[in-house]
Symmetry: C2
């Protein structure tokens, strides 16, 4: 968590600042907004993740010697702009949806109020983090919702960039995954880590029984034995023979899962290992987990599909200049022509309308105000405010950072999921579960 994040940025952010500093427009007070015009791929809802990581990255968004030297050598910007960058400290306000919250098309996920230069320079970093992390969290939430309370572990590190893997473990945990295989995610974000052995461990040994004995000696009988390296029925028999009926769990990583799981459960019970659990980890996604809803599976491990967003590897969020002041100091709402219908200018906050059963019915976006702006519209107890301040006059709210931030986000997600209408949990393609309405 050290090192500058300032060059994790598209070159054009800096050349825009370069030109805007020259004509004075760089200092125009501006409002940028990150939002998704639509949900990916027929999804019913999305889950916000990455905001806490962005805030940590913001605290390291500094143009140091190495960064400035590169920009100078490459003549990316003029010398006067290098001075501006060297002094850069974000001094504006940022507010939006906290991590773990559900979102819908148009939900104002992150609003940045600052000078044009201060707002535009953050664009790439904000979108990289929100798009990647929300993609994982949105996929993870669907998997959790069909796992019917059985825990899911994230084990997809090998299927995504090595640093993205740490962030993916974090996003999946926020969206309800119980644990991760990724050790760095455990160290940095406080996520429980899991994992015992791969097929290579069995193959290393002269026999499956030797491998099981070695694992049990090191890890104790509560461990999980991988029983499908050779023949599954033989593997189960050997596992119970070597470990005894107190064996913690067996893992199945192949085969026609509903059939195999049922057979393994029956075999374990016959052998007296009635409390030995079954975990499955075979290229699962939300559809395969749902297909195991009637099977005696105790926990799941998910890899590729969760870290790649299960078909939607980028959440599709954009970061747009929605309003800026003119030379007279008046706000001007702005939008490019092709986006006119989909963009709504102005300072926004949002609230979710709940019915009497506390089920979400509408996403309300209030125009003209920042966080708390919905208060003046109604004092209705069923309106749950969504927008919270993250950064005020450059000061980052520390409660969103670190492992504590992740814990809070995970709780927030559980509460947000409780509110979603039942239609949200259909796996098939469809429309957003609730409509988004603009007010003000």
């Amino acid at each position: 968590m050290t090192g500058s994040t300032a060059l994790l940025t598209d070159r054009y952010e800096l050349t825009m600042i370069d030109a805007a500093l020259a004509d004075g427009t760089a200092h125009r007070e501006s409002l940028f907004e990150a939002f998704a015009r639509r949900l990916p791929d027929g999804r019913r809802y999305g889950i916000v993740a990455g905001t806490g990581r962005f805030l940590e990255a913001l605290s390291r968004f500094r143009f140091g010697d190495a960064e400035l030297e590169f920009l100078r050598a490459e003549q990316v910007v003029r010398p006067a702009t290098l001075d501006w960058l060297a002094d850069f400290r974000f001094s504006g306000d940022i507010w939006g949806y906290p991590e773990g919250e559900a979102y819908f098309p148009g939900s104002p996920l992150l609003s940045v109020h600052a000078s044009f230069a201060e707002g535009v320079v953050l664009e790439t970093l904000i979108l990289s983090i929100l798009n990647a992390d929300s993609s994982v969290a949105s996929a993870a939430a669907r998997m959790v919702s069909v796992a019917l309370g059985r825990p899911i572990a994230e084990m997809g590190s090998r299927r995504t960039n090595e640093d993205a893997a740490v962030a993916a473990a974090r996003a999946a945990h926020i969206a309800g995954f119980a644990a991760t295989s990724n050790l760095e995610a455990g160290r940095v974000w406080g996520i429980p880590t899991m994992g015992t052995a791969a097929h290579a461990f069995t193959l290393l040994h002269d026999s499956e029984a030797d491998a099981f004995r070695a694992q049990l000696r090191a890890a104790g009988p509560g461990t999980t034995l991988l029983i499908d390296t050779y023949d599954i029925a033989e593997g189960v028999r050997t596992a119970v023979e070597v470990a005894g009926t107190g064996l913690g769990a067996v893992r199945i990583d192949s085969g026609d899962l509903p059939t195999v799981v049922q057979a393994v459960r029956e075999q374990l019970d016959r052998l007296g290992a009635v409390r030995t659990k079954i975990t499955v980890t075979s290229d699962l996604d939300e559809y395969l987990i749902a297909a195991l809803s009637g099977s005696p599976v105790d926990s799941f491990g998910v890899g590729t599909s969760v870290v790649t967003g299960s078909g939607a590897p980028a959440a599709g969020m954009v970061y747009k200049l929605v309003a800026r002041k003119d030379d007279a100091g008046d706000w001007v709402s702005v939008a490019k022509s092709s986006a006119a219908k989909a963009s709504v200018g102005g300072r926004k906050s949002a609230a979710r309308r709940l019915d009497s059963t506390r089920t979400a019915r509408e996403e309300l976006v209030f125009i003209g105000d920042g966080p708390g702006g919905e208060a003046e519209f109604e004092a209705d107890g069923t309106l749950r405010p969504l927008s919270v301040p993250f950064v005020t006059a450059g000061e980052i709210d520390g409660s969103f950072l670190g492992a504590d931030g992740v814990r809070l986000a995970r709780k927030r997600n559980a509460a947000a999921m409780e509110e979603l209408p039942v239609e949200a949990f259909r796996l098939g393609r469809g429309e957003a579960a609730i409509p988004t309405t603009y007010r003000g």
Copy 2:
């Protein structure tokens, strides 16, 4: 490029070492291999990328105080294993396909010959990097092949994790992309960076003409003006009026591209801006680039589709223990039963058979030898060896590292693409362009 990479690792790699140290099998001489059982998604070939990044990460694969303290506190492994980890320095051999090379199902992309413990501990890191980077390179190569020599810039940083973005820019450049928008990729890997302005820059100004004037003042007439914020024809007219006929380029980011590009070209020519180039950047992928093959486009910018592997966000590589010694010191080929048909045990090297036109016809995998092992099989001038040593007795070959490694990989890719048969360049789904044959 600082910091330990040791915990970018699945927990089970360490628990396997823990158990194997206890029973002595951790020291069994072993051979691991990274390969793809199949190509993703109907692809005809893949492009290897990430090896150089892995070698850099390997040099930082050290369990320091922070890593060891976490493992101790979480009781991931026993104290004796912590000592082994503290002393860990990879001391084995690694060889395989250098970056930029084409690959096919079964191509032995990375072979690791070391003790079981030293080989298994690298699994997660190797796969994270190779899967992610090769996914991007494989998608990028398809785009380059249909761009018919017109340069493509990578601009997808905002659509993938912020660190993955830097690696993606690198992988795309190896596979023939000319430049990237990502500044850190420019700084660290020496890739040319590009980009001028977004719609926000136009919207910041009181008029499109004001915005163009500001950009031209800062960047000079050779710049690229984004002309589709409002009306495209009006944007082109204003651009030439403000910049003159020496304007470098215009960028189009929306609309029905074949129609719009043709109209813009005609308008530019009518206005006398006959040398002003046209670049397009509107959610392109290999299919849309191919659809513009007859259009007067001078360059392309590609975002989401390249950084997410254009439908195949993970290359599907696995890392398997293929052979290990027994206590008598004899090699034993190993494979789990379900993989028996797809895995081939033993030390491997590979060569590509070329016909008299230097077109690739067969991927030959030689079993029983390391790099150079194919030499004993034939001295045929049309057999191009593919396997090269990366690490010898723990010593990393520096020629694969840094910006120089990227430059060489890019050249190697251009040569490898020249050899592919014409069938490889069909965009439609199909089989691997050449068959893989095992020998020995």
